[in-house]
Amino acid sequence: MTAIDLHVAQRQNAPMTTYRYDAYDAAFVSERVAEFREQVRRRLSGALTEEEFRPFRLMNGLYLQLHAYMLRVAIPYGTLTARQMRRLADIADKWDKGYGHFTTRQNLQYNWPKLVDTPDILESLAEVEMHAIQTSGNCIRNVTADHFAGVAPDEIEDPRPTAEFLRQWSSLHSEFSFLPRKFKIAVTGAAHDRAAIMVHDIGLRIVRNATGEIGYQVVVGGGLGRSPFIGKVVGDFVPREDLLAFLEAIMRVYNRFGRRDNKYKARVKILVHEKGIDEIRAAVEAEFAAMDRSVFSHDPAEFERIAAFFAPPPFESLPEASALLRAAKLETPAFANFADVNVSAHKLPGYAIVTVSLKPIGGVPGDATSEQMRVLADASERFGFGELRVSHEQNIILPHVKQDDLFALWRMLDAAGLATANAGLVSDIISCPGLDYCSLATARSIPIAQAISKRFSDMSRQRRIGKLGVKISGCINACGHHHVGAIGILGLEKKGQESYQITLGGDPTFSASIGEILGPGVTAEQVPDVVEHLVDYYLAEREEGEAFIDTWRRIGHARFKDVLRREGEDGADI
């Protein structure tokens, strides 16, 4: 850390908890804004046609959706500071309609920006070291990571230095900006995978070998969408010093041989599926061997420079258990509920990780108003070194809360409508924006989420059910990750009506699996009934300690299909 960096941190009155730009990073983002401003001007003048402008518009995160443009702001590895969160709130107020949507790739979406305002929005983001670079387009996208990075007890190594290293490497890459299709990378560094690496184009798992050396298990060809696939191992143990070269090799093989004849067959998962992992591995290894290692040699100093930004903040030495917490739980049952459901163990005694649910009962999953964003920023400064995370489950994480402070935090969140105690429960639904916003959608997803949420609004019932991942996508592109939901819902069109296909048994973790179709599509009205029948059946059949996915795996899909068939025979409207 340079003297300048330290000074900046002290001036901002918060410790360094994430990467901070140096002069080169700042110049790059600033130049990017200037370039996009020019591109917009050339688009409006006609020097660029829409077809020519589109890839560059997308590489700055700007989509044209059903009702308006949509801007997808990058939140690298889901980590942001209080200052950045406040800026997101300001932008929502100034150039949008006072709210934003947190996504399944840890980014933020604005639904109503105007094309002509976007350069100014990007400039405002650049002022707080943010951008919308490569959040869309056929290029390498936001590198996502475990939202409990740096604080989870099961962590081997914080994945974020790696993610930041890769973010820089992949930014405006001369060779890999016109890929056959989008490319998504995720990094995890713990015993449990909270970053869904098995369903990414490249998934990186930080591991230690027998001699304790850090390296990466590299998985390639995972992905959801039209044809879901679980990724396959292409490198068992890639030492850190070889990582960049190895990834370049994969990208070059994909860029050269990925299909370009059919948009729906252009992802790397199709290449891996069609050629087989052995052939792909051989091609990658051959390319890796041919690379000029003197140029692609690892720079340990640069990695260390980046890693230093993620050093632990000045934690206090606290007792394991908090008497304040215990007392508050006894006094206030609603808080006790929150503490039991939305609080996870921190690796340090006396601290806790808090999941702030953006899934209020009947609300729009993942949305936050500008007011709520400011409350979150304030909360992070009062209770956690000014650091926040966005999870791919569309919730906000406060990673460094003292157990002593949990009750005060809860009161603050409760006042802002941010204290829904449903993290990981059936109403903590992951949902894409769907046909309410998205021009790719075939059906609405948000009202489905709202209906299910309301059906299960009773908190004690939700707790009895336990952890259950419901994920909803409004089209086959699967941005709601329905394939890896224990209960997945896919919105399609059938005979001019919205129709919903239910899948069961999806799992995004290391034990990844793709959900299996339950039966023919049902109407929007029927969805909450179906989900309720499935949940009731699970409750009736489960054994001690079994989550929904465990029971489903044990008793089999056929039995669940029978549930619906029986309901149909009983005359229920299924």
């Binding site: 140096d22 080169y24 990073d25 110049a27 790059f28 130049e31 990017r32 200037a34 370039e35 020019e38 591109q39 050339r42 006609g46 020097a47 660029l48 046609t49 020519e52 890839p55 560059f56 056929n138 820089q168 490497w169 992949s170 930014s171 405006l172 890459h173 001369s174 060779e175 890999f176 900006s177 016109f178 890929l179 070059r252 860029n255 050269r256 370009r260 041919a290 000029d292 140029v295 692609f296 720079d299 100093a301 640069e302 420079r305």
Partner: protein, 168 residues
């Protein structure tokens, strides 16, 4: 076709040879890939020739001819088809020292990518050149002061600059 070099439109010193045309004795000419092997065989060491290849060409198909070639033109069937960028890198890695040309409907904004991958010149259709004037190509070339990647041509590398700063 218009030719961009160093942010300016320049006269093309090269001529694309039609397949039915006989190999000339003088001048700089570009043959299609199917004619390359024959050209290498029959042309003397003073002949100045190049080849135009599809972006799916395997570098191995050109290795033997590399020392004789003064220009390789890589076709971009669509500007969003980035295979030519990888092919250019592989040819530079194979120590090709001649002119690398990108040929197709490339947009000015791709200029830094092309330079980064080792291209020297870009050849575009006239209708595109009318909309994308010199100023846009020059602006694209200068849009970024530095690049995050190492081992790519063109702008300086941020990583190299940081390395130097640490050492000094």
């Amino acid at each position: 076709m218009a030719l961009i070099s160093d942010g300016r439109f320049i006269e093309d010193a090269w001529r694309r040879l039609a397949d039915e045309e006989a190999l000339p004795k003088t001048g700089k000419f570009i043959v299609s890939l199917p004619r390359l092997e024959h050209a290498v065989e029959v042309l003397g060491p003073t002949a100045t020739f190049g080849v135009i290849v599809p972006n799916t060409t395997e570098p191995s198909a050109l290795i033997a001819a590399l020392p004789r070639l003064e220009l390789i033109s890589i076709t971009f069937p669509a500007f969003a088809d980035g295979r030519g960028f990888s092919l250019a890198r592989l040819l530079r890695r194979a120590a090709f020292k001649g002119e690398l040309r990108a040929s197709g409907r490339l947009v000015a904004d791709q200029y830094p990518h092309a330079i980064g991958c080792g291209f020297d010149t870009i050849e575009i259709p006239d209708d595109l050149a009318e909309r994308q004037d010199e100023e846009q190509w020059r602006a694209a070339l200068n849009a970024y002061s530095m690049s995050y990647q190492r081992g790519y041509a063109g702008r300086g590398s941020i990583l190299e600059a940081r390395r130097k700063a640490v050492r000094s």
